[in-house]
Symmetry: C2
Subunit: 237 residues, 2 copies
DNA sequence: CAATAACCATAATTATGATTATGATCTGGA
DNA sequence: TCCAGATCATAATCATAATTATGGTTATTG
């Protein structure tokens, strides 16, 4: 999404055969991402969008099959960028146990920075009610990938330090703890983008601090202590 | 919202002068809450809504000024009910320090149960992009009230046990910690309602367990240890 | 430098659903 | 019981914005 005015090959997007159309396609996508910081998807009319870049609806429909296809493309590109960027966090593959704290903070901070940069598209996508699941699965995939990433924080890669004090593989319970931690972190950020309930907003650096710390607490509590004391009957999932 | 077919006096709602209309008003509100579990607000057409209860659009518009007024009323009633219900949680006003754990769990569980029961309206309200702030402020108020409530958990009411080991009033830092904890809990639940990202959904009892435990961790960490170690420059707010 | 296909602008068309107009039918108080 | 509202049903409006139709303009290619 940054600078590559390269081909965009996605369903519902007419492939460009000339440089000109590649540019309008790109311009439309970029302008949309920008405008979605203000309006939501329903409020973003095709003609507004086109006016923004000095084009007309005719141009739009010669590039995209429909408004939905357009937004799907925009979202797909955004998420793909996110995958690229986030899955290299935290940078170091193997860490010393003591680094858990720093690594968590770094991971969360990376997520926050990415989300800030894509507020508009993310909000629009998250708000889009029901419809085809095509939409939300992309998020789930990303979240799951992040979860796996975070699991590595807890249990460094098997071939790591010589010490063999812990089993190399994380237990199922630990995996669930990690997944829940990621759910909490992402949910808080998503809600900050959607509703900004306060006290901390997505643009406060402190939100990254606190969520990082929160993740540390959850991971630690889940890995040494027993599972959070069960009450009531067992739940599903 | 439960059984009182009493007057509903809200802006945009025409006051009923006959029993009949009181009933249709109530039926419309109830049916809307139900239908919103499936569709979102945009997908809920007035005629669908009316068909649902065997009425027609004429009836609707003789009760409500507009669709927006209708939903505002629905939301207002829902939130009012929430205030009534949630602000009596946790039941005991004064608690022993050791009860923090149990109280947190109870508070969170209460919130979860309430949210489950109002999924539809809550989702619709949360999804409603931008527009007049009339909407979201209701939530903020509730969240803030909950926050104060939670603050009491941390620091029991001043006139409590004879022991004077802690200052009776919570520090500003502690209040912020509490507010953040509430933000995390509510955000996770809101996102569970909106997007159900997993692993835990709003209908899993385990989500209440884990969030309760999470709240405990956050409160404890914030009240004894120093604030989460600051890195980078200080943030706003 | 044509000729042909891409590309795009303009001006309809269409679909949807909220809102209103109009007149019947009901209700509660006298 | 009877009637003046109150309430509701039906059938138009209206507004909005997505989508299409049509034809002109621009780029590639032989």
């Amino acid at each position: 999404m940054t600078a590559r005015i390269a081909q965009v090959d996605l369903p519902g997007v007419t492939p460009s055969r000339q440089q000109r159309s590649r540019e309008t396609t790109f311009a439309l996508l970029t302008a949309g991402a920008e405008l979605l910081c203000t309006r939501n998807l329903a409020e973003l009319s095709i003609s507004d969008l086109c006016a923004q870049i000095g084009a007309t609806v005719g141009a739009f429909y010669s590039r995209f099959d429909s408004k939905e296809a357009y937004f799907n493309a925009l979202l797909a590109l955004t998420l793909e960028g996110g995958r690229q960027e986030l899955l290299k966090l935290p940078p170091a593959g193997s860490v010393h146990p003591g680094d858990l704290d720093a690594q968590c903070h770094q991971l969360v901070r990376g997520i926050v920075l990415w989300m800030r940069r894509h507020k508009g598209v993310l909000r629009a996508a998250l708000v889009r009610g029901e419809h085809g699941a095509n939409n939300w699965t992309g998020f789930k995939d990303l979240a799951q990938a992040l979860s796996q990433r975070a699991a590595l924080l807890l249990r460094p890669a098997p071939h790591d330090s010589g010490a063999v004090r812990r089993k190399p593989a994380a237990t199922a319970a630990e995996l669930k703890t990690v997944a829940f931690g990621v759910q909490v972190v992402l949910s808080t950020l998503v809600n900050a983008i959607l509703n900004d309930p306060g006290p901390l907003s997505i643009d406060d650096d402190e939100i990254a601090e606190r969520l990082g710390a929160c993740l540390v607490l959850l991971l630690r509590a889940g890995s040494d202590g027993p599972a959070p004391k069960p009450r009531g009957r067992p739940s599903k999932r």
